[in-house]
């Protein structure tokens, strides 16, 4: 990978989770070394209602979570 490129990217999905791609690890908690998942692309909950936090389980659709898409770039 080019040095100017980030190792991981985070994409906020409109009305949905944060998609994380790249080279990263999600640790189980502060001071922990075990990881939550070894999936290559993960969706992190941002509606607060997931049954499998910090991962998304689709619950944002149950509760009508809203997070509008950003305006298109100029």
């Amino acid at each position: 990978m080019d040095d100017s490129e980030p190792a991981a990217t985070i994409t906020p999905c409109p009305d949905g989770p944060l998609l994380v791609r790249g080279s990263f690890a999600i640790l189980a908690g502060p001071g922990r070394e075990d990881t939550v998942t070894d999936r290559g692309v993960v969706a992190l909950c941002r509606c607060g209602k997931s049954g499998i936090p910090p991962l998304c389980d689709g619950s944002h659709r149950l509760v009508g979570f809203r997070a509008p898409a950003p305006p298109p770039p100029e």
């Binding site: 009305d15 989770p17 998609l19 999936r39 290559g40 692309v41 969706a43 998304c56 389980d57 659709r61």
Partner: protein
């Protein structure tokens, strides 16, 4: 649903299960097709082969003309399932270049054309068509919003008996023991953002390089954990036309370059209606005391498909729509067809079980085959 049983004409052997034998015909067309497929041609019996082909040629137009509903027609849907199976296997009659026999491809097309037309007619809508990738994504998420109240999964999580969950797995096994395969056909037919998105989803479906994480293999463990066979199509004779139609639609879309938009829409709708129902199905199996060997498949899909639905809805469907706006109509068609067939199969199971009937064609016998 027909209950007529047709004898395989070729040798009169009793029906057994794939791949150890041939499936049971469900009418004149599938009987004639199976006779052709299982016929071992030798120098001595060229004439009998010609007779079998002639019987097949005659049976197809009759079956197509006389069907009351091609989507629910046992004879036609089994025939189409077998013709698609020639491209993948496994089955004892899937040998050599049989998939490229022009006569069988012509037969396949003669069933696929009215099947596609029926799906288009049933899913037609007057809704205004989206014009951008972002609008396509929004339209897909909107049309799958009802998944927040999944009727069958909710009922199953509360009421399904162990026998009904067994039937559920049997229906599901027809597709899920080859999960993701029909959508992979679309990969070489896409470009750029949409291609990368489809590969990203499929790589996860196929375990990301770990054979035991291939979703079809995880489901095979569920089948074994429930005391069921994990052999593909072991239960083919038991599942009704509607269950086959759901997979046949995927293969119809997947095998056709023209229908690559429909494959995209189908996959998006499939992923968007997965996480919440699978959480409920996991609960249904847990309620009966089944452990992780059985529930892992469903738990995995809660997490995986929450990711896949975003990639499928936005980068795959949205990306393909932006790259080629002429695909938009078929993306929406594929999604609607997925939801329609899911509704038909779900309603069939629910109504059967709520009336204490089996949803299968005949009571299954574990030792059969």
């Amino acid at each position: 649903m027909t209950t007529t049983h047709f004898e395989p004409a070729a040798d009169g052997t009793a029906a057994t299960h794939l791949p150890g034998g041939t499936p049971e015909p469900r009418g004149p067309l599938s009987a004639a097709l199976l006779a052709v497929l299982t016929h071992e041609e030798t120098e001595a019996d060229r004439d009998s082969a010609a007779a079998l082909w002639q019987r097949l040629d005659e049976a197809a137009p009759v079956a197509l003309r006389e069907t009351a509903d091609i989507v629910a027609d046992e004879d036609l849907q089994l025939s189409l399932f077998l013709l698609h199976l020639l491209h993948t296997g496994p089955a004892p009659f899937v040998r050599g270049d049989v998939e490229w026999d022009p006569r069988l491809i012509a037969l396949r097309r003669s069933i696929e054309e009215p099947f596609e037309a029926a799906l288009r007619e049933r899913t037609a809508t007057a809704d205004p068509e989206p014009t951008s990738g972002e609008e396509v994504s929004e339209a897909l998420f909107a049309m799958t919003a009802e998944v927040t109240q999944p009727t069958l999964a909710t009922w199953a999580s509360r009421h399904a008996t162990a026998d009904q969950l067994r039937e559920f797995l049997i229906h599901k096994s027809i597709y899920t023991l080859r999960e993701a395969d029909p959508h992979s056909w679309a990969i070489p037919r896409l470009r750029g953002r949409a291609k990368a998105a489809l590969v990203e989803i499929q790589a996860d479906e196929y375990g990301g390089g770990a054979p035991d994480r291939v979703h079809a293999e995880i489901f095979a463990r569920t089948m074994r954990g429930y005391g069921l066979s994990d052999e593909p199509d072991h239960y083919l004779d038991e599942v009704p036309a509607l269950t086959l139609a759901a997979l046949n639609a995927m293969n119809l879309f997947g095998l056709s370059r023209r229908l690559r938009g429909a494959t995209i829409g189908h996959l998006a709708a499939f992923e968007m209606t997965s996480s919440i129902p699978n959480r409920l199905y996991s609960r249904a199996f847990s309620r009966h005391g089944y452990g992780a060997d059985v529930t892992e498949y469903f738990d995995e899909h809660v997490e995986a498909d929450a990711v896949h639905e975003q990639i499928a809805g936005r980068d795959l469907a949205g990306g393909a729509a932006d790259d080629d706006p002429s695909l938009i109509a078929d993306i929406l068609f594929g999604a609607r067809a997925c939801l329609h067939l899911d509704e038909l199969t779900g309603t069939h199971m629910l109504e059967s079980w709520q009336n204490d009937r089996t949803s299968l064609r005949a009571p299954t016998v574990s030792e059969k085959g």
